[in-house]
Symmetry: C2
Subunit: 503 residues, 2 copies
């Protein structure tokens, strides 16, 4: 029999990149078709976020070149601010590094894993370095970089300063094997099409492996407002969150800490917190115990606060969703931006739902899902949006799930999207999000029902008119015989009356 010491000889520690190398499925790298789309997704996500943060209307260029059997080169270029040289290895080569995860702000990426994961996949399948070309206002560099997976660091293996030619932005070029390009629902083509629908302010150019150039044009020239860093709302805080913040803040006393670090806490509110929790506002914040913090957090739950500000959350907007859906060329479309809500107490989110009927929609329901405008292409089965769609009584809206040609659009905007996996393709089953998605879709369905009803009414009217018109010649003849008037005149008058009534 083995003893504990025998068994623990094998104890080791992995780096986060070794972990995701071993578990590439968790980043979405499952199968050749999906892996290709995930690579494009991660690089485009980064590119769009970079433009958004800089307040620049995005011009994204994606090119996929075939190099051999299941072997491609993929490049994505943006027109944002570029990346300073010293940050390039961390941005593209260090997992869990980034400017997004620790800030309470809406962005497509939120983990600091995605694009480093893409570089990892490239390296593991081809051994080739990633090439990054980046031009900031200060300087322009072309860099080749590798990953040291055991240490979770990016390493520059070659760098060349390039003479500034006025271009600003970042271009990343990677090679990958074990991927394939097929034009399908799960392909980069559809991913970019979906991106374009939810980002009508972006121009996306795409060169397919066979050289076909596709442009998804900008359908809106208004730059969306930049998302803002938001203070955390008291209702969304856990005791642990509060303690971690207390340890890292500049304030000395609890009162000033609460007022400066959290949202919606006025002097009056702070006094109410003191009264309810029994923890003095004069307490030195560095001496806050778990028990103190828990009492404060419990007080947060008892006291009424203004809902979290939604000004930092930037939805797409109804008009823009309709513009986006116009890509489908629908017979009828409708969109709604719901009012902001919160989940888990205080994390703000906004649901947008859109619906396109007919046009290029195929028979049956297609759900297109987004989180902070980023398309979710895979894992539909495990996503709260799918659950919400299933939970709707579609017959009420005269929709047949198999035959009605319907595209349903849902976008979840939040400072923190509760993804089920690091692959960021499905949103977890948070009850408040589930309800809001359901309500959002039902809102758009009411619009659809009105349209379908009026369409049906118009159809019935037309049928009635047609049958009356059919008998008009005979009837006119009879009337003309009885009245002695001219047949043609009677007929024309008759047709005029019918058309006036039914047209």
């Amino acid at each position: 029999m083995k003893t504990a010491n025998d068994l623990f000889k094998e104890f080791k520690i992995l780096s986060v990149s070794e972990f995701f190398k071993k578990n590439a499925d968790m980043l979405g790298y499952t199968g050749k078709i999906r892996s290709m789309t995930i690579l494009v997704h991660e690089m485009v996500t980064n590119a769009l976020d970079a433009c958004e943060e800089a307040g620049i209307l995005p011009e994204i260029r994606v090119e996929i070149d075939q190099r051999g059997d299941s072997h491609y080169e993929i490049s994505v270029e943006d027109n944002a601010t570029g990346i300073p040289l010293k940050f390039i290895p961390d941005v593209f080569g260090k997992m869990l590094a980034g400017s997004k995860a620790h800030r309470n702000m809406q962005s497509r990426g939120q983990q600091g894993i995605g694009v480093s994961g893409a570089v990892m996949y490239s390296q593991v399948t081809t051994g080739q370095p990633a090439v990054i070309i980046s031009s900031t206002v200060e300087e322009m560099w072309e860099v080749k970089m590798n990953l040291d997976l055991q240490k979770n660091v990016g390493k520059i293996i070659e760098k060349n300063k390039i003479k500034d030619n006025g271009w600003r932005g970042t271009k990343i070029v990677i090679e990958a094997k074990d991927v394939t390009y097929i034009k399908s629902k799960y392909s980069p083509y559809n991913y970019l099409r979906m991106s374009s629908i939810a980002n009508p302010h972006a121009r996306i150019e795409f060169i397919e492996p066979d050289g076909t150039k596709i442009v998804f044009p900008r359908s809106s020239k208004t730059m969306p407002k930049s998302p803002k860093i938001m203070k955390l709302h008291p209702r969304g805080m856990s005791t642990d969150d509060l303690l971690v913040m207390a340890r890292n803040c500049r304030a000395r006393k609890l009162g000033s800490f609460l007022g400066s670090e959290l949202a919606r806490i006025s002097r009056k509110k702070a006094e109410e917190i003191e009264r309810v929790s029994g923890v003095s506002l004069d307490k030195n914040v560095s001496r806050l115990t778990w028990n103190d913090a828990e009492r404060v957090v419990n007080a947060f739950k008892e006291i009424d606060f203004m809902a979290p500000s939604s000004e930092g959350l930037i939805p797409i907007g109804e008009e823009n969703i309709i513009k986006g859906l116009s890509l489908i060329n629908p017979e009828f479309s409708v969109a709604i931006t719901r009012a902001p809500r919160t989940y888990r107490g205080g994390i703000p989110f906004i649901i947008e739902a859109g619906l396109a009927y007919g046009g290029k929609s195929e028979p049956g329901i297609e759900i297109i899902r987004y989180a902070n405008r980023s398309p979710l292409v895979f894992d539909q089965g495990g996503c709260v949006i799918n659950e919400a769609v299933k939970n709707i009584d579609w017959r009420r809206y005269r929709v047949n799930l198999e035959s009605t040609p319907l595209t349903i659009f849902v976008n979840v905007t939040s400072t923190h999207i509760p993804y089920t996996s690091a692959g960021k393709q499905a949103i977890a089953m948070e009850e408040e999000i589930f309800n809001e998605v359901r309500f959002g879709i039902m809102d758009t369905c009411r619009g659809l029902k009105r349209y379908m009803d009026s369409k049906r009414k118009a159809y019935r009217k037309k049928q009635r008119m047609d049958s009356l018109l059919k008998y008009a010649p005979e009837t006119s003849k009879a009337i003309s015989k009885l009245s002695g008037r001219d047949t043609d005149k009677v007929k024309n008058l008759f047709i005029k009356i019918i058309e006036k009534k039914y047209a």
Copy 2:
């Protein structure tokens, strides 16, 4: 407009535990009911693995105590070898640390995240340390420990040596808030019931919050064979894998490296690899380039190898599955262990399928899913097993998905389960696994169909016999009149003949 330098002021690096704290959904901590079950799951997984590795028949004791509103204490005790003091902080407090991830061996845990995640959830919701009591052959300790999430380390805050009382094993006690205990399909109760079905060699004792004691008894006294560490199979190797191994191996030359580190490579095979790849077996392994390694890996794909050994994989076994399913008290049950197969070229796996009809099964299909005997309770929608079930033409087997009372059991055994998420509740859509699961279920369905057919046949026979018996008295009377024999004698003879034919 912002410049790159403005934007990159906010660049920071997270630790892996901070990451999973922010993204607890990825570990499965979504909602109070699910969070409770995930906590139990992680602790029981560790306990069963510990027994398995030590070759000990598991006696697991799980106790859940209510402490307040949404506030519980959970303890799990095993009878394995215990954990040496110096490893306790790493086992329970350091994510990505463990003895499982880097070894090519079947185990329930494979990430080194699960139980540290449970301790994290406990600390974040209650601020309380975890209590670990561990007794090895050398010594017995009771330890209180905390996590430093920013550094991803466990810290012992109190330790007491306890006088050895002969007990061996590990007990972990945590407190958690934001959890709740409800007896449902998703509860710890059902989780343990499912664990018991797939681990008939384990005795599991469970104390519910209201004091109810439930024992899932041991239905098999044979200890399953211990899984073995397996060498990697050439077909499952990527170029990167080969290079990483080459850098860390003791062999000097390619030939001895291949022969000693990989499975199924004889001297003759090695020579074939040399011939096909053009890379000399005498090449110094530390000088292997990407190009060399890629040529070797390409040769792996062209050459025939024996399939990976499956001796390291320990399936549950048909007999034990049937024993496990007997918990449902089924009218009919059947199980199959399929032959070993590989996915992604060379990762071996075995599918087992079982099926229980009637008994305590409710009308409709219930799928119970396992990975290395560990129940998968959540995320069914995103799991390859679910996809495979959906893909079967059930009418062929006389099964009505809504009304036939059927429990379908699937266990995937592998050295590496391709989970879709660190929460380990769904298996990724690997084509080979999908096909095998489908075949496995179809195998059991054929058994079911035979049973249903024979049941139907027996029913028809019985009907026929009953109607003949009904007319026996009248017919006997008539025959006795015609033949002059005694009516009762005729009748008894007649009944005998009918029963002989139809019984």
